[in-house]
Each structure stands twice: as C-alpha cells, then as structure tokens.
Subunit: 397 residues, 2 copies
C-alpha cells in the first residue's frame, strides 16, 4: 500500500484534560495525526505539578503528552474566557475531564462554545457522567474501580478486595472518549454539525465484568474472589516456576493434551478424573498441584517455551523493566527509546492504534508549561507581541 497521511491529519484539538482520562484521549488523537494544543492553568495539569514544585519531572506526564503543544490560560479571567472561545471557533474538538459543570459555571461550557462554533465536537470525560443521581460524586480511578464492581472480583478469596494495579477506569474512560469523538467527527463529515459526546469511567468499566456477570447469572449469586483462577476451567492460573511466575491455561481438550505432552505425562493425559474441562474444574486443586510441581522444576521462560511449543496458551509474568524493554514492542514501534530534554534517557510510547500504510508520528517530547504561548496566541490567533506581553502581565496566560 502506498504511503498515506494519518487519519486525523489536519484536525485541531483543544486539550483541557487533566491527569489521565482526557489527556489519554487527546494523546491518541495526536498520534493519529491531529494538532493538539494542551491548555493548562499556570498551576498546571496536576500530573505535571510535581515537576513544578521541584519534585522532579514526571514520566507519566511525558508519556501522555508527546506531540502536543502547550499553552497556559486562566479561565477565571474574562479575557481568558474570550481567548478560549476564540480558539474554540477555530478548533475541531475540545476535550475536558473536569468535574461535571465546571466549565458551565465558568461561562464556557458546551452550550456557549457550540454556539460560537456549531462544528465543534465538545467531549466530556467524567467518573459518573453528566446526568443521574451520582453525577457529582468525586471520582478518582480507585474510587470508580470500587463503585464499578472491579474490586469485588479482584484478589484472593481469603483476602481483601483489590484494585486492579493499572488505572483502568481512567484509561478505559480515555479511549472510549477517543472513540466517541472520532464517531462524531465522522458524522460531522456528513452533516456539517458538531456534537456533544461524553463518557463515564464507571460505564466504561462495566463491559469488562462480562465473565463474572455470566458466572453470577449462572449461580444466582457472586462466588468468592478467584485470584488467578477461572470459574469453570482448569488449569487456568498463575504458577510459580523455579524462577518467577507463569500464567498458563487450557481451554480446549487439545490444549490439555498438549500440556500433558509438554510435561511428558502420558499417564495423566488418560486419567479419567481429568478427562474433560468439567472434570478438571471439579479437581482443580489436583490439577493446579500437578501443573505447579512441573512449573517449579523449571525456569519461568523454559515453562513458557515448552507450553507454547505444545500449543498451550502461556506467558511469563513480566515485571516493568522487562515490559519497558520488550524487543517485540520496540520492533513494532509502540515503544521508543528517547533522549528527553528533561527526563534523560526514557522509553516513550506511541499509540496502540495502528494504521497500515501511514507512518507513525515521530515522538516529540511534551511541552514545557506555556511553551507555545507565543506560537499559538501569536501566529495562530493573530495577537501581536504587545498584546501577548499584556496577557502575561495580567496573568491571563
């Protein structure tokens, strides 16, 4: 296929996002070719703030804000709000994940901005949504994980409910918001009209519960947390090896037979107690004991090698150092080693969205606070140097 531009090439996005949900949506837009302007107060995105208070530069901020330009803007000033409206008139998309109603109360909510520019896509990411009785609940990733049921199914049967380590509420929220925005952009091509779209983190988490909702439906109640086990399959667990751990599971009978070959246990392949999934699930402790004894006799990667060779789904439980330096993701361009002006040698990420025939954007390090004020307010909005100097003096930018 011949070279083509990235799909969002030529679009202008105003990113009023903070921390993860909004900024991840606009990160995906930037990597899909859009021109993203990150709009921060001088106090800055809380994720950057650590850096400003001398706590050292923040890798998470760097990860999420590559290829964005940055401006400062004080929305509590009349002139600041005028500037936001002026920018919204020239923009295609505005993304924000403030608490519901924050921009409305400042006088620059969706209704005002969409009146100024009917082609604008206004996108709101929140914890619980812009309507409904729980709308105003304070939402952070772990509290939404709690409210959404995620914690009730994570952890061991005899332990406390646990958070999923990754910030899945924030990121599922962010990528759904990307999907909503691009859907509205697609529609705008046909109708000429912008839209208001929204995503609630709580709702973005619900579909991920599918397996456990199914087990609930079947049993009529919620079973205790299962750790790494499955409700109806065995083996399906994380096994300690001589070094490290291995995730391994069998779904089909063929995979079970493959595992018995990998373990060189023809005797067990014919054991009637273990003949079907149903029976193995009934003897799950026995199954786990057998697999664990084998796994413990070998190094982690050797267990995986032998299992894979016999068609058994398995993988090493890798730590962050291994993941960051994963040759596979580096070869695919998802991860890239960069010399970063503030952070030194780091691994930055590209986008999980891959468009064949279009080149990935070269990763450009995140903007410093207000770095592109002159470029954006000057060259783009057309203010002259005196006006910009005055905005700075008056604390508008």
């Amino acid at each position: 296929m011949s070279e083509r531009p990235l799909p969002l090439d030529g679009l202008l996005v105003l990113d009023l996002g903070q921390i993860y949900q909004g900024p991840y949506a606009t990160f995906l837009m930037a990597q899909a070719g859009a021109n993203v302007i990150k709009v921060e107060t001088k106090k800055a995105d809380p994720l950057r703030r650590r850096e400003l208070v001398g706590d050292g530069p923040s890798l998470p901020f760097a990860l999420l804000n590559s290829n964005k330009r940055g401006v400062t803007l004080n929305l509590k000033s009349e002139r600041g709000r005028e500037l936001l409206i002026a920018m919204a008139k020239r923009a295609d998309v505005l993304v924000e994940n403030f608490a519901p109603g924050v921009l409305d109360r400042l006088g620059v909510g969706a209704a005002v901005l969409r009146t100024a520019n009917p082609r604008l896509i206004y996108a709101s990411g929140t914890g619980y949504g812009l309507s409904g009785p729980d709308r105003d609940r304070l939402a952070m990733d772990p509290t939404v994980q709690a409210a959404a049921g995620v914690m009730s199914i994570t952890g061991l049967a005899d332990g406390p409910p646990l958070r999923s380590g990754p910030a899945i509420g924030d990121f599922l929220g962010g990528v759904h918001l990307y999907g909503a925005v691009v859907s509205a952009l697609y529609q705008r091509e046909r109708t000429g009209q912008g839209a208001v779209v929204e995503v609630a983190m709580q709702e973005a988490l619900y579909p991920t519960l599918a397996s456990d909702l199914g087990l609930f439906h079947r049993a009529g109640h919620q079973e205790p947390r299962r750790g790494n086990r499955h409700g109806g399959l065995a083996p399906y667990n994380v096994y300690p090896a001589k070094t490290g751990h291995v995730a391994l599971l069998c779904i089909t009978e063929q995979q079970w037979q493959g595992l018995m070959s990998a373990m060189d246990r023809p005797d067990l392949a014919e054991d009637p107690r273990l003949a079907t999934n149903l029976e193995r699930a009934e003897h799950v402790d026995l199954v786990d004991e057998i697999v664990e004894a084998w796994a413990r006799s070998l190094d982690r990667d050797e267990v995986v090698r032998r299992a894979q060779r016999h068609g058994v789904p398995s993988a090493p439980v890798r730590d962050l150092a291994e993941v960051m330096s994963d040759p596979h993701m580096h070869e695919r361009g998802m991860l890239q080693r960069k010399r970063h002006r503030d952070l030194g040698e780091v691994v930055l990420m590209s986008s999980p969205l891959r468009f064949h025939g279009a080149e990935r954007r070269e990763l450009v390090e995140h903007p410093r606070i207000g770095e592109h004020n002159r470029e954006v307010y000057g060259s783009w909005l057309g203010l002259d140097d005196d006006e910009i100097a005055e905005l700075e003096r008056n604390g508008v930018i």
Copy 2:
C-alpha cells in the same frame, strides 16, 4: 439540540469476532448505529458454544451481541469464501480477531478483501499484533495480562502477582479497535479509500501502567506490589468498615482537612507528623490505622456519606448485584432490564459512548445461531430460496 441519527447510522459491519475483543468493537459499532452482521461458523463463537452444547445460555454472549444479526458461514468451503467476498463488497467494515494469518491462509485475508472492495476497512484485533517476533504467541486475556506487566503491579506485597479480575486486555483491545476503525472511516470520507487497521491487546495495556512506570522511573527499580495503596499518597487505600469496604483517598491538603472534619478529629488535623502528603506517606501505617479505626465504627455507606460530604473522594466497594442494579446507570440508560427470550429476566448493557441529541438504540436480544441466514443471504445478497437451501445442504451456511 434537535434529535439526530446515531453517528454510524447506515454503515454495514461484518463481525467475524470471537469471545470479547472483536465482538466488543462491533458491539460499540452496533450501539453507535451501525448495521452489524455477526458471521459465525456452525460451531459458533466459542462464547456461544456453551449454549449449543446444552450448558445453558450465556449472559456474556448476550451482553456483547445485542442489536446484531447473525449468519452462519463455512470459510473452509470455496462457496463460503465466495459469499464472504460478496458480502465484503457491500460492507464498510470487517472486524476479526483470529490469530494472525488465519484469514490469509484461508484465502480471504485483508489483501483479497480490500482488492474486492477498496473502500473496506479491514480491522484486526490480536494479542501481540500482526508483526514482530511475538506475533504468533497464543494470546488469551490472562496470558496477555501476564506478559504486559499488569500482574506484576496487581496484588499484595507478600502475595502472588494477580490478574485484574475484569478482562482488561480483551476490552481495552476491543475499544481501541473501535477507535481505529472509526478513525479510518473518518479518513475514508475524505479520501474514498478503505484501510487496514490493527490493535494488539498487549499494546493497549501499556498506557494503563503509567503511574507505576513513573514510580519505577523515579526509584530506578520496581517497588513491591502495593495492594490498594499508592506510592506517594496517604490515605489512599481500601478500608474495612463495620459492614463492607470503602475506597478512600486524599490528594490535596484540603481533602485531608475535610477527612479530619468528617472524622471529627481536629487534633489530628493539626498533628505535625501528618501535616503534608509527604509526611503522611512517611507515616502511612499510622494514617491507615487512624482511618481504618474510624471506618470500622460505621457502616460502609455511612463512611462514604460522611467523607463525600466533606469533599473526600470515596466510594463503597460494591458487589456485582449492586452494580447490576445501580439506579444511576439504569437512570442513564447504560443498564436496562430486559425480558430475554432465552435468558429470562436479565440486565443488558448499552454503550459507554454517549452522543447527546441522538437516541440510544433500543436493545434487541442477540441473534440465535444462523437466525438471519435467510434475511441476509436472501434479501440482502439476493440469493433465491433454492440457492439458500443448497447452501444449507452443502454445509456452506
């Protein structure tokens, strides 16, 4: 705003997806207005198979396949492949999440289908992607969670690495695939050309590690798993209450002061050991002890009520029964109680993507296997009754 159609209204999607990743992408498309045809072998999507082997209908299958029509198709027959190509000629999007290369080997891969229809968006969801050294590793949600580093940061310091309970690899993969498809549709409006897009589950998980990658970067190594705690904030945990558990955290000093008011502990609000986040993080055991003692004296919902009243982010750790019947998500239309022809009374889900001014699709229960063969192959593709009967006789459909 006046009523408008859903954004993907009028699009036709062929869903060759299985289990979660592909079917979730097409579920989002269906709920965004697209006409989705689920194409299964007679053996069926593995998620439905339980139902066909008499193991009872599957709620996860029902959740993910609302508002799709269903046909059967045998791609191992010449005539079956011809029918797929005939459908692809009339379709806008084809989604599949087979192992890499499966459709190529059958002779109906992206190159063939895109030659037949240059406007087609061909979307592939895999565990590790269509290129790179790990391309052919067998991938299931837990093994990808292991390989992606998720398990290494989930669990307690003294316990094993744990799976995130929800199938986050599958669903993050699915929603990213939705985003990639709609981006390509947007581009097609401008260029007239289709595209090949892909998403790897492993890559879709990487961004969610941001906080832990940041802590790693700062410390120079990976700290032990933190359970429900944060690396640099306290309180930030899940606390047992008199009944149930509560997730609660303070990010700002104002929130800490709010919590001390909620607890009626002005003495602690002025305790110099707990004056800042930095100091509280240093005395994290003390902080957790204080908050836990308070939480244990009250019912779960009372802890949350008091915390929220004083501006402290918190939420009950809710179980699946509570989540399924959540009045908030029902009021917002995300969850809907339905009388299902096969499953009886169930709660089905709509889409986390919300388009203001457009009505949600009325949820229609998932198709039975091959239910729409006549409608799709007859009315849409134009085969007559005799031809359809012959296809059935020959095991093509």
